[in-house]
């Protein structure tokens, strides 16, 4: 997949899961994987880090 930020390569993991966070190899931006209607994976930007996110 192509990174919308820098056009770099974002590898799709073989065992990809919906909701998985993937990162562009070139610019380091992270995206969330989701399934399109045709069942194929695509990426979308993640909501900004929530204030209650964490360990």
């Amino acid at each position: 997949m192509k990174c919308p930020e820098c056009d770099g390569e974002i590898p799709l993991p073989k065992d990809a899961i919906e909701g998985e966070i993937v990162t562009c190899l070139d610019c380091g931006t992270s995206f969330e994987l989701y399934k399109k209607e045709d069942g194929k994976f695509d990426i979308r930007s993640i909501q900004v880090v929530g204030e209650d996110w964490g360990e």
């Binding site: 065992d15 909701g19 969330e32 204030e51 996110w53 964490g54 360990e55």
Partner: protein, 277 residues
């Protein structure tokens, strides 16, 4: 396993289950639609591993599942106590576990008074939060006043003035992964030069930490104090020995696995299987 985003941790837990032949169903909490009258034991199985990144989401989902008879790891009480630094401190103190001196106030004026008791420098922390976010060093009265002024314009949670003595420790702390009241792995989190915080999220380095008797003992006690389960217990090496400064309810272990070689995801699955009714 319920989640909202799949990090490295959730992925390796799913793979560990597959390897062990355990039927682990992945449920995205963002897709959940629960009619509160209904029963959910069948749908959610014997035991649910709670792995949401969002604390409020995880807490509310855990409460609901538990009320519907589904066992959740960590359970609701643990999530309440370990998810909140004040509640954790209170539980640690009650159990007689060494923890940094802490003061509590609810307004800037009284927080400044509290600081006179505690002395500078001190550390202000949000009671809910992680990754070192909004954890602020209060060097002196001026910096405290400036920081409190900011907090007064923020969400009310940030106006709970939970303030700790600044512990004189080496530039590192210790993260122990505790499962079922046993330390299974521990790392030093060594901060980058120039940063006083030792969070991995802020670029700290992980190194294997030997599990001494003292560490094992204090972490087991901390785990019992908050109610057990799967926890990340953070300790600091003070001049007077180890102090527990926080217990994490949805612990990350991405850096602990390579630094220690311990199969944490496998141990998590083993623990869940053991809990199965």
């Amino acid at each position: 396993m319920v989640y909202d985003y799949v990090r490295w941790e959730e992925k390796v837990i799913a793979n560990a289950a597959k390897k062990k032949g355990v039927d682990l169903k992945l449920v995205d909490s963002k897709d959940v639609s629960l009619l509160l009258d209904n029963d959910y034991e069948k749908e959610f199985g014997d035991v649910v591993l709670q792995r949401c990144l969002s604390y409020f989401r995880s807490l509310h989902l855990t409460a609901t599942l538990e009320a519907k008879g589904v066992s959740v790891v960590n359970n609701f009480n643990v999530a309440i106590v370990a998810g909140n630094k004040l509640f954790t401190t209170l539980a640690l103190l009650k159990a007689g576990i060494p923890t940094p001196q802490t003061v509590l106030s609810f307004a800037p004026e009284s927080a400044l008074k509290s600081l006179e008791k505690l002395g500078y420098p001190a550390v202000l922390k949000p009671t809910i939060g992680s990754w070192g976010r909004l954890v602020a060093l209060l060097k002196d009265r001026d910096s405290a006043e400036a920081i409190f002024e900011d907090r007064e314009h923020m969400f009310p949670l940030y106006q709970i003035y939970y303030i700790q003595e600044f512990v004189k420790r080496p530039p590192r702390d210790i993260r122990s992964i505790v499962i079922d009241d046993r330390v299974v792995a521990a790392i030093y989190r060594v901060s980058l030069s120039g940063n006083w915080k030792t969070n991995m999220a802020l670029g700290a380095k992980a190194e294997n930490c030997p599990i001494t008797k003292e560490l094992e003992d204090i972490c087991a006690r901390a785990s019992k104090a908050v109610g057990g389960g799967i926890l990340g217990v953070d300790c600091m090496e003070s001049p007077d020995g180890l102090l527990v400064h926080e217990v994490n309810n949805t612990t990350e272990f991405k850096n602990t696995v390579p630094a220690t070689g311990v199969d944490i995801p496998g141990l998590i699955i083993d623990y869940l299987v053991k809990l199965r009714k």
